[in-house]
Symmetry: C2
Subunit: 266 residues, 2 copies
Amino acid sequence: MAAWARAVRGLLLDISGVLYDSGGEGGGVPIPGSAEAVRRIKASGLKLRFCTNEAQATREKFVKKLQGLGFDISVDEVTAPAPAACRLLKERGLRPHLLVHDDLVPEFADIDKTNPNCVVIGDAAENFSYANLNEAFRVLIGLEKPVLISLGKGRYYKETDGLKLDVGAYMKALEYACDVQAEVVGKPAKAFFESALAEMGVPPEQAIMIGDDIVSDVGGAQQCGMRGVQVRTGKYRPSDENHPQVKPDAYVNNLAEAVDTILSQM
Amino acid sequence: MAAWARAVRGLLLDISGVLYDSGGEGGGVPIPGSAEAVRRIKASGLKLRFCTNEAQATREKFVKKLQGLGFDISVDEVTAPAPAACRLLKERGLRPHLLVHDDLVPEFADIDKTNPNCVVIGDAAENFSYANLNEAFRVLIGLEKPVLISLGKGRYYKETDGLKLDVGAYMKALEYACDVQAEVVGKPAKAFFESALAEMGVPPEQAIMIGDDIVSDVGGAQQCGMRGVQVRTGKYRPSDENHPQVKPDAYVNNLAEAVDTILSQM
């Protein structure tokens, strides 16, 4: 992370695995130095936006949890997939059958869900029962043209008690069962990163995405013309450094180290 | 189904969707004419073998259910994936973590399951909870070289109360989450058809496979050098007739019609 970091005007931060590890009592544990790192970014004058695929709660509830863990963050700084999905549903007149976490349902409060003509799948965690997945399958297979919208396509994430299957695994199950290709809302979709950049008012070549997911964070950002930096926290695994498709612009041990390096270049 | 049916010496029959539809009280409902069709095959002198991906019960229990539904069938006439998987596990010194239906577990009674070095997945139905799939995922992702063995790769099947997700969907979920390719035991694996043919003592060019699954039954049999006939019962859907890869050698409305036609050619 050298010369190119000097041109940076804005940072996009992933949340889970970068700011904190989710799970357990209190909803998670901050990653050491990350709350201070967020404060330093804000003090530096760099533009900042949180870009998350979090879909286990409304943005309001999620941000409140992060504030409780000591982070300086507000709802209007967060780009998340459920609001993006709602825009898409309205634009296309789609009425979803929802297979999502109970706490995410309020995000879809003003969306018509009668007589569904698509399925929206998010990180439903315990709601990914056989009965619920089968119900979503039956809705899809019963449609003349099945439409499956997925809030992200992550393979897994890390909680305090270990790795957890993410929405991408269940998306693949439904894709295979119904012979359909999901439309992904959230990282690594280009439109999602672009909306985060637009909200920040920074062009991609002046932005850095910092995340723990080699594909969704780093690869997705690079596809968009941004630099992508991988932290060695969260779901990071050493084997990521041999990823056949994606090579990050830099590795850092954690968010604090990333911020140190970037600020020292300015 | 014309001239080529004259050369036939043996029939392979799928069970679910061909002999009966599973589900509900009593475990299922016979498809009209199918019990009589099985008796007519046996009386004709044709060799007969049942070739199933059924993995919700031991062969013993499964055959007992079918006998109760009026079918002339015995355990040693059935080729099923769990015994094939056990042979494979023993040959390769693999110790499975099982994600299967409770009633299938006895098939693995004499297999060492301590300190697992692979995952075996079958049609676990209600056992496909988030917690159980996550546990299988953690075993796999923790292995240096993840080995995933899947009892079939069906997308869905039909029960009396509707379509149900089959093991293939969950296999795809684990494949994606762990970036691994499953080894399929059962249809449409070539080795599986070949073992059924060997047990019957008939070469592929003199055998017909009759099934309701366009890919696993018909396509798999054809890959093996057999003729593949699709019945319009079970999970058959009209859209199967436009399948981009697989074209059956013939369609029949049901097993009874297939047997009528074949016997009339002899």
